[in-house]
């Protein structure tokens, strides 16, 4: 490349090799031959959502809708009505502008459409508050019949990608923008509607999804060094929530901390609280964004600023344990 060409070629930063969006895009492309009815819908953002891999491998099944998410979302319902399995891809925040299309033309019409949203939460980073969807889990979870999934690492994302294609029904799934930390090996088993206990403990249970799973694992180590035994549950399916696993955790550890890159209302914390309120209520602390919008910054800086990092999860665990003890005394 000449010096002039080098100057003229922008350095692309959209694609991060080990991000969840890339894991999703690569897996989808790899398995697409086994799913001839799968088509991908894009709103001019394939480089960001990971489906540029699919566009390259299966151009005949890639449909461009331009920057027009409402039409794309409802059209997906129409494509599904003809027997295809459409995967709607865009950023989580733009899924929010088409929630009503997902409601009427997909869920209410009982269409087998998969909505895969990249760039959720503070994990978006420097694009700032306008781009950081902190409400998407709440919005999609409130739609009857909608399954909501937020995997934690690349291996789980690959398995979830296969699982949602094998599942008959509408799904909203979060991927992620930034590099993700590998948590699981090939022996991991993702199943829709099931959580997994990653670490056992007796004093408190940390329930997390998405980027917060890695932080919850670190928080448990931190707590262990302080003599507190914390159980860690990975909860990749927020709806339907794994109620039996939560009930067991509540009974055996007596208090819960939820951790998510989402607003404190209506997300994983809400789902856990609703479930336990109906079975085995216990003190619950919520690690989440405290009903404010985000701002520009690197994902780790933002996690620290909005109190989503391991020390804050550990602090929430100590509060939950204190409440449990106060109740029992």
């Amino acid at each position: 490349m000449s010096a002039a060409e080098k100057l003229a070629a922008p350095q692309l930063i959209a694609s991060s090799g080990d991000s969840l969006r890339e894991a999703f895009g690569k897996e989808l492309s790899a398995i697409a031959d086994n799913y001839p009815n799968v088509v991908v819908l894009d709103a001019d953002i394939a480089g960001g959502t990971g489906v540029h891999h699919f566009r390259k491998s299966h151009p005949d099944r890639f449909f461009q809708f331009g920057i027009a998410e409402q039409n794309m979302m409802a059209a997906a319902g129409g494509m599904a009505a003809t027997g295809l399995i459409p995967i709607v891809t865009t950023f989580a925040v733009f899924c929010l502008r088409a929630v009503e299309q997902a409601r009427l033309s997909i869920a209410y019409s009982q269409r087998n459409v998969k909505i895969v949203a990249s760039h959720p939460g503070l994990d978006v980073g420097p694009d700032g508050g306008s781009a950081q969807a902190l409400e998407d889990i709440a919005a999609f979870r409130a739609i009857p019949g909608m399954t909501v999934i937020s995997p934690a690492d690349a291996e789980e994302m690959r398995q979830a990608t296969r699982a949602i294609l094998d599942f008959d029904g509408p799904v909203y799934m979060r991927t992620g923008r930034s590099a993700s930390r590998p948590l699981f090996g090939a022996d991991h088993r993702f199943e829709i509607g099931k959580g997994q206990t990653l670490r056992d403990g007796k004093d408190v249970t940390l329930v997390a999804c998405g980027v917060e799973v890695a932080r919850a694992i670190d928080a448990a180590s931190l707590l262990a060094s302080q003599g507190i035994s914390a159980r860690v549950i990975n909860m990749p399916t927020i709806k339907p929530i794994d109620a039996p696993l939560l009930e067991k955790a509540s009974r055996e550890t007596g208090c819960i901390v939820t951790a998510e890159d989402h607003n404190m209302f209506g997300g994983l914390g809400g789902a856990v609280a609703e479930s336990l309120a109906q079975s085995t209520p216990c003190p619950i602390e919520f690690v989440a964004v405290r009903d404010v919008f985000g701002q520009s910054g690197e994902p780790e800086e933002l996690a620290e600023h909005y109190h989503l990092t391991p020390p804050y999860i550990a602090e929430a665990a100590r509060r939950a344990i204190a409440r449990k003890k106060a109740q029992r005394s």
Binding site: V39, R61, F63, F65, G66, A68, Q70, N71, M72, M73, A74, A75, A76, G77, G78, M79, A80, A81, T82, G83, L84, P86, E100, Q101, L104, S105, Y108, S109, Q110
Partner: protein, 302 residues
């Protein structure tokens, strides 16, 4: 009761061309009568926009859609989506008129546990093809169907009726751009252009003109016809099939409340209204309904 005209098996015997159009005009009259009766029994519903699209529906079902009960949901069927879902009374009345559903179902409009929901619901009524009722969405779903069918090399066509007020939804113009970009020649949209919407005339709420120019600028084969002239409507569908690589929009000029003298062109009768017995009888008389059929339509207990 016999609100339907029992035409279900007659579509192929419409053969004598000179009888075809009068036959469908008769269907349209029945669609209007059953719509009014359904709204009377429901004590709510949108009469104005149901009456304005009755001829469009009669022409669509009479000439473009399969009426054989065994083929209603066959993969190669032409699809129809009522994007202006608030005209559901007319849709159910159409199915009833063409013998596609039991006539009494249309008269259970808006009742608890009825399949005839206030707006069409595909899970209860597969003939609806998709659930509608939020303006703009049915149009996008129809675009998705047209794309999906063509992708699978299925030659079926997709029809959709939009309201004029519906065109104020941004999603419609997202879809208009999309359908032209993808050259969806298997798609035919029909605008029920009755010039009125919920609160007032289109022109007073949010003007649509120059409407045909807008569609042409978006790349659509654009036809303008009277939406109450069955022969013109059917001719437009024929023209749409030869539109090359463009989608077609048929701007159908209609009169809101068509056929019921006191409702015609009155914005008041757009919204969900309750009809008194007297109003319903007057409306049915205005529609030329025989007295015996009026009794039959209004006296049935549901």
């Amino acid at each position: 009761m016999n609100a339907g005209l029992q035409l279900s098996h007659l579509s192929s015997s419409f053969a004598p061309e000179d009888e075809f159009v009068p036959r469908l005009e008769s269907c349209a009259r029945n669609i209007r009568r059953v719509s009014v009766a359904a709204i009377f029994h429901a004590t709510s519903g949108h009469p104005g926009g149901s009456l304005s699209c009755a001829d469009l529906l009669a022409a669509l079902y009479g000439s473009e859609l399969k009426l054989n009960p065994d083929e209603l949901l066959s993969p190669d069927r032409n699809r129809f989506v009522l994007s202006k879902g608030h005209a559901a009374p007319a849709l159910y009345a159409t199915w009833s008129t063409f013998g596609l559903i039991e006539p009494q179902v249309a008269l259970t409009l808006r009742k608890l546990n009825s399949r005839a929901q206030g707006h069409p619901h595909v899970v209860d009524m597969p003939l609806a093809e998709t659930s509608t009722g939020s303006l703009g969405q049915g149009f996008s779903v129809a675009i998705g169907m047209a794309l999906g069918l063509r992708h699978q090399r299925n030659e079926a066509r997709v029809y959709t009726i939009l309201g004029d007020g519906e065109l104020q939804e941004g999603e419609v113009w997202e879809g208009a751009m999309c359908a032209a970009h993808h050259k969806l020649s298997n798609l035919c949209a029909i605008v029920d252009y009755n010039k009125l919407q919920s609160d007032d005339r289109n022109a007073a709420i949010m003007g649509l003109e120059p409407l045909a120019q807008k569609w042409r600028a978006f790349g659509w084969n654009t036809l303008e016809i009277s939406g109450h002239d069955i022969a013109s409507i059917i001719a437009a569908f024929g023209e749409a099939r030869g539109a090359g690589n463009r989608p077609t929009v048929v701007i159908a000029h209609t009169v809101k409340g068509k056929g019921v003298a006191y409702m015609e062109d009155q914005p008041l009768w757009h919204g969900s209204v309750k009809l008194t017995r007297e109003q319903a009888e007057t409306a049915l008389l205005s529609l030329g309904t025989p007295v015996a059929q009026i009794k039959e339509l209004l006296d049935v207990s549901r």
